[in-house]
């Protein structure tokens, strides 16, 4: 696409599909609309067929399933014309008038079940667990039930979704045959079902041991334990298999389920010694340290903010807690609210930089964004000023001055400030480009002068305001006989 951009631009700019706009005040198309109305009204009377699908505004075709969920759900609250809000019905539902189905259908339903135990009867016994009236299982499931199927037959039946009792398989050998059969048919559903049975009836060590040589089944067990949240058994399994890194990651993952910051911190502390890979270990350590910091900063800043003593907090009230924010966001926060603090405090930017070994580039970029947002141009200046041993100052930016300019521009820096940094962009083309884009006239003019490019300078003269100081400047340069123009 890159290559054809010019062509494309040409097309869109030249035609922009103007031949066919659908504006109301387009005379030619008024008739078109009339015919549209005609067609629409015709359609109401005549056709009801499917090929001209009717569509509600939301685009859901009338009669589609997702459309109907809204329609029928809403009608259950207020029969005639309910709100279209999906499912808003649920709770304060007014039941419609009496039931419409006959008593006979009611009984028919019951007879089929072969049980008169109703849901309410069962639920009135307090224990939820005890309520498992398998009695209500349809008879069909028991049809052609036999108790002496081989493992192979059993698996076949399970594959077809039939009920099978696995309890008959008592010996380890039988159980393993069952598992091997399940694996052989590649049916994850059946494999998992057999695994649940084995998990219940075999000792952990034996199960793990047997799975070690049955990789497919093993992966299914891992997936199943993860799905069902059996963290402890999963960790045992990983330990048994000596998959230590997975133990570590799997445990670390748990922190996401802990909402309370202090508890999460304690949990992370417990993760530190786990057998992560070398880099991950360092990251987890940092994660803990960062959260620990954030908790301290948060407590402190909440206090400062509510006391109303700090100007920056008064002027820019915090929008969110700093807890659980990424490192770079935390650094930004600290550059914003705690920029001048001594290195000794936990919230000072320099302390963060040191503790987390934040690279120079990253640090400068973040500090720049924070100070620019506060319009603290003096701080911005100081960020890039270095003194050499003779005491001379020099401007230096590890991220390149073009990026400094972009950050400043995004924060609406005034032209005077912007100009200073545009001037420092080394690459001439980029400098000219930025200077023109952000109207830093002085920089443009000086650059053309240095390039001895009279033609460009003349052209630029037309772009600046009449009678402005920029125009004067250009004129005086153009009339300077010292310059040897290249054109």
């Amino acid at each position: 696409m890159s290559r054809a951009r010019a062509d494309e631009d040409e097309y869109w700019h030249s035609s922009k599909c103007r031949a066919f706009t659908f504006d109301d005040d387009d005379d030619e198309l008024c008739q078109l609309k009339e015919s549209k109305r005609a067609v629409n009204s015709l359609r109401d009377i005549v056709d009801d067929d499917d090929d001209l699908e009717r569509v509600s505004w939301s685009g859901e075709p009338v009669g589609s399933i997702s459309w109907s969920i809204k329609e029928t759900a809403s009608s259950s609250i207020s029969p005639p014309e309910g709100s279209l809000q999906k499912g808003s019905s649920s709770y304060a539902a007014l039941p419609k008038q009496a039931s419409s189905y006959s008593l006979s259908s009611f009984f028919k339903g019951r007879n089929k079940l072969g049980s008169f135990q109703s849901l309410s009867d069962a639920l009135s016994d307090a224990g939820v667990k005890s309520y498992a009236p398998e009695l209500r299982r349809p008879k069909a499931d028991y049809k052609d039930y036999s108790s002496d199927w081989s493992p192979k037959d059993t698996i076949r039946r399970m594959q077809r979704g039939k009920v099978c009792s696995l309890e008959r398989f008592r010996s380890l050998q039988e159980k393993l045959m069952l598992l091997d059969e399940a694996v052989a048919v590649h049916d994850g559903n059946v494999i998992t079902a057999v695994l649940i049975f084995l998990k219940r009836t075999l000792k952990k060590e034996i199960l793990f041991h047997e799975l070690e040589v049955r990789q497919v089944a093993l992966r299914h067990l891992i997936h199943f334990l993860r799905e069902s949240g059996e963290q402890k058994l999963l960790l045992d399994l990983f330990r048994f298999l000596d998959r230590t890194e997975e133990v570590a990651l799997s445990q670390y993952r748990e922190h996401l389920n802990i909402q309370d910051a202090d508890k999460r911190k304690e949990f992370l502390k417990g993760c530190i010694g786990l057998p992560f890979s070398a880099e991950d270990a360092a990251h987890v350590q940092d994660h803990y340290t960062l959260l620990e910091r954030q908790i301290i900063i948060e407590a402190n800043d909440r206090h400062v903010e509510s006391s109303g003593q700090s100007e920056v907090f008064r002027k820019y009230p915090r929008k969110a807690l700093i807890l659980n924010m990424p490192l770079v966001t935390t650094l930004f926060y600290s550059c914003f609210y705690h920029y001048t603090e001594a290195e000794g405090t936990f919230s000072s930017p320099t302390n963060l930089k040191k503790t987390f070994k934040i690279p120079d580039k990253q640090y400068v970029l973040t500090a720049l964004a924070a100070r620019a947002k506060l319009r603290a141009w003096h701080d911005v200046d100081a960020l890039f000023t270095t003194k050499n041993w003779l005491g001379y100052t020099k401007k230096r930016a590890p991220i390149g001055f073009h990026r400094v300019v972009e950050v400043l521009q995004r924060n609406n820096a005034p032209v005077q400030v912007l100009q200073e940094y545009v001037r420092l962009v080394e690459d001439v083309d980029i400098r000219l480009n930025l200077a023109t884009k952000y109207k830093c006239h002085d920089v443009v003019i000086d650059t053309y002068r240095d390039l001895k490019d009279r033609i460009q300078l003349l052209a630029y003269r037309c772009k600046v305001e009449r009678g402005s100081s920029e125009e004067d400047k250009i004129d005086s340069i153009l009339s300077n006989s010292q310059i040897r123009w290249k054109n």
Binding site: R3, S58, E60, I65, S120, V328, Q362
Partner: protein, 604 residues
């Protein structure tokens, strides 16, 4: 000769037979639950079901109410049966449990509960329900094997969103089992496929399962004349590169930017304000505009697979044609002529609104493709794919991280770089990882580990970069790409020819033997199997008749790849027509997302 599915005049082997079979199964289940019913939907399923049946079908079978599944109490509804339509997921079982336990105890008469698992019953879920003490409340527990859903005349999808993750990260082969099942169903309806080719571990598994299933159900030997000549099974991890690149076809871009779900797309409403007279016109709609996109729409069929840069000219040509057609009415003098004109109106009307919609969509997309950032991003992608500077830290990627662009965008680029370099140098990889977790949060260690396991982001272990050899042999990068009148599949990515489709193309001609070396560099085995046909069913090919190949992408396929295959089908001397099947329609974003650790608590 047959014309293609997905094109104007759809006469391609009717995938509707598949839809009919689906409807029949649905009706049979509904009739098992006698009396009035309400369906409680797992919301994810409504889209795929919508491609099989309309509400009217359900209504004919006494479905009076429909709700979405959510925690708490079930809505009141005076029906005899409550049926849950759900995927076999444990978190959904928890919601159902809550629904059932909070059912009004004094309620009379009682409502009967049923559960329909899609696409398969899960013994795990049933065990789960049993442990919660509610399994006994269900009278019918059944499965509805919605394996392959027809999305278009030439496209089938299982819409199994986690298939890639399960196959390649967790090595759970359940979705492969479903794929094999789906292929068996397909063969029952369209005849045994005589030739099977494949590349990759999962492809091998699926082929094995198919052969085994066939052996075990000898009755499945059918007497239908085979519609498909060849089945090509491809693992997604054979080509990890393609989905990471930004698709540049019209449909691909719509999907990249707005996301197409079950053939529907939701668009910002501003450009679609209804301009009816007498309707104030002031209050703009705030709800997104939802449109269905498929080849039944003539204009869309024409432009969906074009490079976006070629779409504008088609639209403006169409505009002229339609304007001219409406002009015709001035020349209609006699009653006969007027009648003639009026009879064409509905068609013209449809064409007009179709054009209006696509003009608006094209404008929306154009706003994005002409943005500086889109251009920069694309430039970097193209550099990586053509092999430039893949072995060092990329400035643009660093800038994006510094400006905190969406994480998925960063991950797509970094993974792309890794794949195009057969893994990153350890130092480069560590640098990216560090920047990512410091900027986006330490918890992303988990996501990075997942990407590494899936092979998308990894250190270069062998010390050798195979990508240049693969690129050159398979001609993955074409410098002279023609977007308007393409002569090669590389037009779909404006220069990059999708590896997966190249494999399909080379298989048809001259055959994989010519690329043995490269096939060995790509992961997993490649193989060929034959399924015997009774002599009566063997095809005697007429001269000039095209072969039909079914390409099955295990782990997902992008719209751009589909476009490339359709392009091959249409080549004058191609000789092969393609039908596409997949576990899921994906793009780089949805794909990476499926591999990310879920960092927020579940929506329920």
């Amino acid at each position: 000769m047959r014309s293609r599915g997905g094109r104007a005049g759809v006469t391609w082997p009717d995938l509707t037979a598949l839809r009919e079979a689906g409807r029949r199964e649905l009706r049979e289940f509904l009739d098992k639950c006698a009396g009035s019913k309400a369906i409680v939907w797992d919301e994810y399923l409504t889209g795929p079901f919508g491609l099989i049946a309309q509400y009217s079908l359900l209504k004919e079978h006494e479905v009076e109410k429909m709700f979405t599944l959510k925690p708490g109490r079930l809505p009141a509804a005076d029906v005899k049966n409550i049926i849950f339509f759900v995927r076999p997921k444990l978190e959904l079982m928890d919601i159902i449990t809550e629904n059932i336990l909070s059912e009004d105890r004094g309620r009379s008469p009682q409502r009967d509960f049923h559960i329909l698992f899609v696409p398969r019953r899960s013994l795990l879920c049933e065990q789960w329900l049993k442990d919660q003490g509610v399994l006994g409340s269900f009278i019918h527990k059944e499965q509805y094997s919605l394996d392959l859903i027809p999305f278009d005349g030439d496209l089938l999808s299982m819409e199994s969103e986690s298939a890639f993750k399960e196959c390649y990260l967790e090595s759970d082969q359940t979705s492969l089992y479903h794929a094999a099942k789906g292929l068996m169903t397909l063969q029952a309806l369209y005849g045994t496929i005589p030739q099977i080719f494949g590349k990759g571990e999962c492809a091998r598994h699926v082929a094995n399962m198919m052969i085994r299933m066939k052996r075990e159900f000898p009755g499945s030997q059918n007497s239908i004349f085979p519609v498909f000549d060849t089945l090509l099974l491809l693992d997604r991890n054979v080509d990890l590169l393609t989905p990471l690149a930004t698709q540049l076809t019209y449909e691909g871009l719509i999907d990249e930017i707005y996301g197409i779900q079950n053939t529907y797309v939701k668009l910002p409403p501003e450009k679609f304000a209804p301009k009816k007279q007498g309707e104030g016109g002031k209050d703009l709609p705030t709800e997104p505009k939802k449109l269905q996109l498929n080849s039944a729409e003539e204009l869309y069929a024409e432009i969906r697979d074009k490079n976006f840069n070629a779409v504008g000219s088609v639209l403006s040509k169409k505009a002229k044609v339609i304007s001219a057609a409406f002009e015709e009415r001035h020349h209609a003098k006699t009653v006969g002529e007027i009648k003639q004109f009026v009879s064409q109106l509905p068609h013209m009307q449809a064409a007009r609104s179709s054009l209006a919609n696509h003009t608006s969509i094209a404008e929306l997309i154009k706003d994005i493709t002409t943005s500086e950032d889109f251009f920069d991003n694309l430039t970097v992608e193209q550099e990586f794919m053509s092999g430039i500077d893949t072995d060092k830290v990329n400035n643009y990627v660093e800038d994006c991280i510094a400006q905190k662009h969406p994480l998925i965008k960063i991950l797509r680029l970094v993974c792309l770089q890794s794949v195009c370099n057969s893994g990153l140098k350890q130092k480069v990889l560590d640098h990216y990882k560090r920047e990512i977790i410091q900027t986006y949060g330490y918890e992303h260690i988990l996501t990075l580990n997942n990407l590494e396991k899936a092979g998308l982001l990894k250190p270069q272990t062998s010390g050798r970069n195979n990508y240049p050899t693969i690129r050159k042999t398979l001609r993955l990068w074409m410098d002279d790409v023609n977007e308007q009148n393409p002569n090669d599949i590389s037009y779909v990515y404006s220069g990059y020819a999708p590896l997966s489709v190249r494999l399909a193309q080379l298989l048809a001609r001259p055959g994989w033997r010519s690329i043995e070396e490269v096939l060995k560099m790509l992961p997993g085995p490649h193989f060929e199997e034959r399924q015997q046909l009774p002599t009566g069913l063997q095809k005697k090919r007429q001269h000039g008749e095209n072969r039909v190949t079914l390409v099955f992408f295990l782990g997902g396929v992008t719209y751009a790849e589909i476009a490339a295959l359709r392009f091959l089908s249409q080549m004058e001397d191609g000789g092969t027509e393609y039908v596409i099947a997949t576990t899921k329609l994906i793009n780089g974003t949805s794909w990476i997302k499926s591999l990310m650790e879920k960092l927020e608590p579940a929506p329920f």
